[in-house]
């Protein structure tokens, strides 16, 4: 069986997870997702191997690989490196061509990206100065309440009230949360407050780039239903849900770009 020339892969190594997507005939063929370790090269390769195994392919079968995420800087397995901003834009556009705004919340940063009808970036803003609004922040909060990270959003949605949270700095928010618990506030109401305070901070990112429909939510935090709802309220928009794991959007975009590069470089017709 010859697969030659038909497979393109994207590998996205972030601070918390490494992801990969393989495209075949322009369709998503296989994916890989795992926690990233300290060695970004190994993490990227493991994510790629996961998708290759799922697809029954070898690395040599892939015509072109694009690396993205912070691990893109050292990704010897990739033909090219492209920033996650460009990749998220292409990934969102691949799934929903009507998307014009992307909120990407990953492990260590948060981005507001505006794109055009071709999925090209027209503007972006990024917060990576502190952990507020990132996966890391929510991990710390899940730890404080001794609940699973994936349950955090649902718990927040069950709130009957919103306890305002004044700190968005992880360190201060952690101690503020502990004192709110000690004061007798209900965990779900505190969590609701935390989600809203992050959402308001994210709204600030959009003051520079603006918002246009459709709005798309990508990155690991996009799995959090409480965050989705809080952002919808803060930005007064309805968010389009991706039909695949939102954590894979960057890798998907990288695979889409890999296909374009292969074509441009004459490796694929």
């Amino acid at each position: 069986m010859s697969f030659s020339g038909n497979f393109f892969a994207g590998v996205d190594v972030g601070s918390l997870a490494a992801k990969s997507v393989i495209l075949k005939d322009g369709e998503i063929f296989a994916t890989g997702l795992l926690k990233s370790g300290v060695n970004s090269v190994e993490s990227g390769l493991s994510a790629l191997n996961l998708a290759l195994d799922a697809a029954g392919l070898k690395k040599e079968d892939i015509t072109y690989i694009v690396g993205t995420g912070y691990g893109r800087v050292s990704a010897p397995y990739a033909n090219k490196a492209v920033t996650e901003i460009t990749c998220h834009a292409k990934g969102a556009n691949y799934l929903h061509p009507t998307v014009r705004t992307i909120i990407d919340m990953g492990g260590q940063d948060c981005k507001a990206i505006r794109i055009d009808e071709d999925g090209a970036v027209v503007d972006f803003a990024m917060n990576d100065k502190c952990a507020a609004g990132t996966g890391r922040f929510l991990e710390v909060m899940a730890d404080v309440f001794k609940v699973k990270l994936e349950d955090l959003g649902a718990i927040a949605l069950s709130a009957t009230d919103t306890v305002p949270m004044s700190s968005t700095c992880t360190v201060f928010a952690e101690s503020e949360t502990i004192s709110l618990v000690a004061r007798g506030e209900k965990p779900e109401n505190i969590l609701n407050g935390i989600h809203h305070s992050i959402a308001n901070r994210i709204a600030g990112l959009f003051s520079r780039v603006g918002i246009a429909s459709d709005v798309f939510f990508s990155g690991g935090v996009a799995k959090n239903t409480g965050m989705k709802s809080a952002i919808e309220q803060a930005l007064k928009v309805t968010i389009v849900r991706p039909e695949i794991d939102p954590q894979l959007i960057g890798a998907l975009g990288a695979a889409v770009i890999a296909r374009s590069f292969a074509k441009k470089e004459g490796l694929w017709a």
């Binding site: 912070y70 800087v73 492209v82 920033t83 996650e84 901003i85 460009t86 940063d109 071709d118 090209a120 970036v121 027209v122 503007d123 972006f124 990024m126 990576d128 100065k129 520079r208």
Partner: protein
């Protein structure tokens, strides 16, 4: 790019600290000045040696400065304070007087501190907030007059009209030469780039002005001799324009990142760059004439100007972007440089659809990767836009 005159400038710069030592032994006095509106012509005309002070890029010096000033002061001022505190810089340690203009209030604070804590002899030049009004001009005339008499007392001579005329002619020559070099660096067929011109400007902080002018003219002649045929249809380039807070000598982080990622800087409206040399026409060789000309320059960002439509800073920015054929603008803001940080939003709005990226940074390496990602995405954005435009 192998231009001989650039090597000559570098060699002159190496000799300069020793040269200054000798000149001081012969009784000459050195006046260090910073940062935006000190009329150097007057210092020079009085037989004093002007040295432009104010570097950046060294996080350690920022920490040294921060021992004497709140960390809420801009990183450029903290860095300068660190240099004045240490007194090890080959130029700082030779200053007999420091002249500081109060264009930005943070500089005023710097003056207070270096005279109070470290005993530097200083002189301050007041700058009006309302520089566009008649009253503003009157005030600045008086300030320049007073500045001149303080310098006269320091130098022990009176300002002579002929000497001022001579100085103005040298400085006019320098300004014209820098503008010419800027034009050349933006072309594809010239053997020098923005970075070269920037290092030439840095050299001009310290070199003897007459000697500097000669070197600039030699450089222009060499550039003109080495112009090549315009290369046809090369690779798609991201032509970047730099704006915002100054990027003084020594602060190479952002420039390095842009160039490492394949971006090409083609112009700027920085006060450490081209703006300093623009729109300065001294019509009358007197302190009043000098004052009027300095006040009519492109306004500095720290001077409030609320009517965006007639703001000369924005008009100049738009003009330069067009002149240099820039594809996008990187607006650089230094931490706690409120003057330029607060103007980022309005600048972006005024420029409309032109790709705009704000980089907020300071003199430490901790944000290197974060800046890298932004700049890389920005360059990707510009290049893909141009790629699509070429296809259509």
């Amino acid at each position: 790019m192998g231009l001989k005159t650039l090597d000559k400038i570098a060699a002159a710069l190496q000799r300069r600290p020793f040269e200054l030592e000798q000149l001081r032994k012969e009784g000459k006095r050195v006046v260090g000045w910073l940062a935006y509106n000190i009329p150097e012509e007057i210092i020079y005309a009085l037989g004093l040696i002007p040295i432009r002070v104010g570097q950046g890029g060294d996080g350690r010096l920022v920490e040294v400065g921060a021992r004497h000033i709140s960390t809420k002061n801009c990183v450029f001022v903290r860095h300068a304070l660190g240099q004045f505190a240490e007194k090890t810089d080959p130029y700082i340690k030779q200053l007999d007087l420091v002249a500081i203009d109060a264009t930005c209030i943070q500089l005023y604070r710097l003056e207070e501190l270096i005279s109070f804590y470290f005993g530097y002899k200083t002189v301050v030049l007041g700058v009006p907030r309302n520089f566009a009004t008649k009253e503003g001009h009157e005030y600045f005339r008086k300030e320049v007059e007073c500045f001149t008499s303080k310098l006269e007392a320091f130098a022990g001579v009176t300002l002579e009209k002929s000497k001022l005329e001579e100085a103005i002619s040298i400085y006019d020559g320098i300004r014209a030469a820098i503008k010419t070099l800027y034009r050349y660096q933006s072309l594809d067929n010239a053997p020098l780039r923005w970075r070269d011109v920037s290092s030439v400007i840095s050299a001009g902080y310290n070199l003897d002005r007459q000697n500097y002018l000669e070197l600039l003219q030699e450089l222009i002649a060499e550039v003109e001799e080495n112009l090549t045929e315009s290369p046809a249809g090369g690779e798609i380039e991201a032509r970047i324009f730099l704006s915002g807070s100054l990027i003084p000598p020594g602060d190479t982080k952002l420039v390095d990142i842009i160039e490492q990622l394949g971006g090409r800087i083609v112009g700027d409206d920085l006060w450490s760059g081209l703006n300093f040399f623009l729109n300065l026409e001294i019509k009358e060789p007197t302190p009043y004439g000098v004052a009027d000309a300095y006040l009519d320059r492109v306004p500095h960002g720290s001077l409030p100007y609320l009517d965006l439509k007639s703001d000369g800073r924005l008009a100049n920015l738009k003009h330069q972007i067009q002149e240099f054929g820039a594809d996008g603008i990187i607006y650089h803001t230094l931490r706690y440089c409120d003057a330029f940080t607060f103007k980022a939003g309005e600048t972006k709005d005024v420029l409309g659809k032109l790709p705009f990226l704000e980089i907020h940074t300071e003199y430490s390496g901790s944000d290197f990767e974060a800046i890298r990602t932004r700049v890389e995405a920005f360059i990707e954005m510009i290049k893909s836009k141009k790629e699509i435009a070429e296809l259509v």
